[in-house]
């Protein structure tokens, strides 16, 4: 489970002064559920997910992932999550297998478990064909599969996806969406950020609309429709954001 409690992140910029990228954000994400963070570019989605992934530290407030505090136990949090974002690139000079092996070893997997996981993941994601090809020679779809394999190798109970379909072609995006559904079916806690309304509509069990670092509304899609009185998620989003 993921629980964010009054998460706030303030950046200090010489030119722009103090920027509150995330401002008192609280939400709860349950196992077997896909929780969507929906917002425009610069709304604070990435910063929020980076804090949950312990890549950034909150200025105030905190969050817990699988019972571990992001500030007090960052290494334990990272051991329990799979983090995939547009800014988590691959090592171009390593092969697909070497990449996944490397992250498996960083997660402390034994060689026998690692072998088993590799075979299973490479077969499930249909990656055996390019298993020994260097990442810098792979197509963007193949790369995304390697990234997914990287996040899955230690079988984490929590998955964090920051705009995972950004810049991908339709077919690859479908693979990613299918993979996120699969995570939910396997009982994992999934948090997912996007600015693509249709994706959120298709995938999310609960949605939080984030704007200027604040949660504007939170609930199931049906609850948000009821709250705004409109059906289309685009309209729901605009109404909630413009309501500020």
């Amino acid at each position: 489970m993921i629980e964010a409690r009054q998460l706030t992140k303030v950046f200090r910029d010489r030119k722009r002064g103090e920027i509150r990228a995330v401002d008192g954000v609280s939400f709860r994400c349950q196992p077997g559920q896909v929780f969507g963070l929906l917002g425009v570019n610069g709304a604070g989605k990435t910063t929020c997910l980076r804090i949950i992934g312990t890549i950034l530290q909150p200025s105030s407030g905190t969050a817990s992932v699988g019972g571990f505090d992001v500030v007090e136990q960052p290494e334990k949090v990272r051991a329990n999550i799979g983090f995939l974002s547009i800014s988590t690139a691959l090592y171009g000079r390593l092969t697909a297998q070497e990449t996944v092996e490397y992250f498996g070893r960083l997660h402390g997997l034994t060689e026998s478990i690692l072998r088993e996981r590799l075979d299973s993941i490479f077969t499930t994601l249909d990656m055996n064909e390019f298993r020994h090809r260097r990442c810098d020679q792979l197509s963007s779809g193949m790369k995304q599969k390697v990234s997914i394999a990287r996040t899955l190798v230690h079988d984490p109970p929590v998955m964090i996806f920051d705009e995972p379909t950004h810049g991908l072609d339709v077919l690859t995006a479908r693979t990613v969406v299918g993979f996120i559904r699969d995570c939910r079916e396997r009982g994992k806690t999934v948090i997912f950020s996007t600015h693509v309304m249709r994706e959120a509509e298709k995938l999310c069990d609960a949605i939080a609309i984030i704007h200027n670092g604040r949660i504007m509304a939170e609930g199931t899609l049906a609850a948000l429709r009821e709250q705004t009185g409109v059906q289309d998620l685009d309209d729901v989003f605009v109404k909630l954001v413009e309501g500020t």
Partner: protein, 393 residues
């Protein structure tokens, strides 16, 4: 992590070039290439018959004819424009014989012979050399004749004879000679080897977006820095070791190809004890760690590889300057210099290579450099933990 960094770096052509190709080629090119080129140029200059002008001396036929009998010189007609001719290198030197020179020598008087040269120009010095030698010989002969004319014994000429004898083994002498250049080259190569991987594993990872991927792993950030630093240290040490090996091979080749091999004057044994080299290499260990950690810290601070290289340029210059200490004549190790980074390693390596082991200084330098390396590593770890540095835009 170290294994992955090593594999990743070994697949990078630029790392291979800076870590293996440069040290393997730079030393032979520097020592053999430049050395043989210099020898060839000097030999060619020596083989050229220099054009020398004689000014005056018309009333001193004895001296003039003896001088003109020198076969190693081509004499050219006198000209008032001799300074220009020398500076334009059309004439290598000019000698001015004062009026009444022969008569003055005969009468026991003193005269001054002026030789005009292009200072610092090797061919000019080759032109002036035989002329100077001729007049020195003439001076000695004249002095002997004058002493004989007054029935004075020859020993009056030289009341004291000075003999200089080398008491130091040739191995140590050669160590002292080549030991001056080796520390400088080693420090330079050690630094060169560390630069590329240090930048690639830090600013390079930021640029390629793999840094955030790495930060998602459960490994403590301190350990991530240690892993990266170990890789940079490996590159620095491999470069240093390869430089030492190629230097040894170059010296061995010089010994076989040098002038002594052709039957001339026996060359100085250009060899250094293996044990001295081992101790010198051991002294490079903390130095290499210091360089690796410093460059890693700079690379971490930088947003891009371009920015990192622009920060490393002044560091390279700041390192070269103290590394030159071993090349400067008369600079000797003392307790104050033993605490200055780079200078201390440069001077102590020079001493070690010449067979002098001041163990108190060696311990002080090794210890102080370890402390500097520790401080640099702590700075790199501190920077790696700062979000403002890792996500600097």
């Amino acid at each position: 992590m170290y294994r992955k960094e090593l594999l990743d770096s070994l697949r990078d052509r630029r790392t291979i070039i800076s870590m293996i190709v440069v040290p393997m080629l730079a030393m032979p090119v520097l020592m053999l290439g430049m050395g043989s080129l210099a020898i060839r140029l000097v030999t060619r200059a020596q083989q050229e018959i220099p054009r020398v002008m004689v000014l005056g001396g018309e009333d001193s036929p004895k001296t003039l004819s003896a001088l003109r009998a020198l076969k190693t010189i081509e004499f050219v007609p006198a000209s008032r424009d001799y300074t220009n001719l020398i500076s334009e290198k059309r004439v290598r030197a000019a000698v001015e014989i004062p009026g009444g020179f022969d008569a003055a020598l005969h009468n026991g008087e003193k005269r001054t012979v002026q030789i005009y040269v292009y200072e610092g120009e090797i061919k000019s010095s080759f032109g002036a050399q035989p002329v100077e030698q001729f007049f020195r010989q003439l001076s000695d002969t004249t002095l002997s004749e004058r002493l004989a004319a007054h029935n004075f014994p020859q020993r009056l000429l030289k009341p004291i004879e000075i003999r200089k004898t080398n008491v130091v083994p040739p191995r140590k002498v050669s160590g002292n000679l080549i030991g001056s250049i080796i520390p400088y080259l080693l420090i330079l190569m050690c630094m060169t080897g560390a630069i590329y991987p240090a930048v690639d594993l830090t600013a390079g990872e930021k640029e390629r977006g793999t840094m955030e991927t790495l930060l998602c792993s459960p490994v403590a950030r301190t350990h991530l820095v240690y892993g990266k630093c170990l890789m940079v240290l490996t590159a620095a040490l491999v470069t240093t070791l390869l430089s030492l090996s190629s230097m040894g091979a170059s010296f061995a080749l010089i010994k076989h190809l040098g002038p002594g091999a052709a039957g001339g004057r026996p060359p100085l044994a250009l060899t250094i004890d293996l044990s001295s080299l081992a101790v010198a290499f051991a002294m490079m260990l903390p130095m290499a760690l210091f360089f690796s950690a410093t460059m890693l810290a700079i690379g971490l601070f930088s947003r891009t590889t371009k920015e990192a290289h622009s920060y490393l340029q002044p560091l390279l210059i700041a390192t070269i300057m103290p590394a030159v200490a071993s090349l400067l004549p008369g600079v000797e190790l003392n307790s104050r210099l033993a605490l200055i980074p780079v200078v201390n390693i440069s001077l102590v390596t020079k001493e070690i290579l010449s067979g002098t082991y001041h163990w108190n200084y060696i311990a002080l330098i090794f210890g102080s450099t370890c402390v500097y390396a520790g401080v640099a590593l702590a700075a790199a770890v501190a920077l790696f933990k700062r979000e403002s540095v890792l996500f600097r835009t």
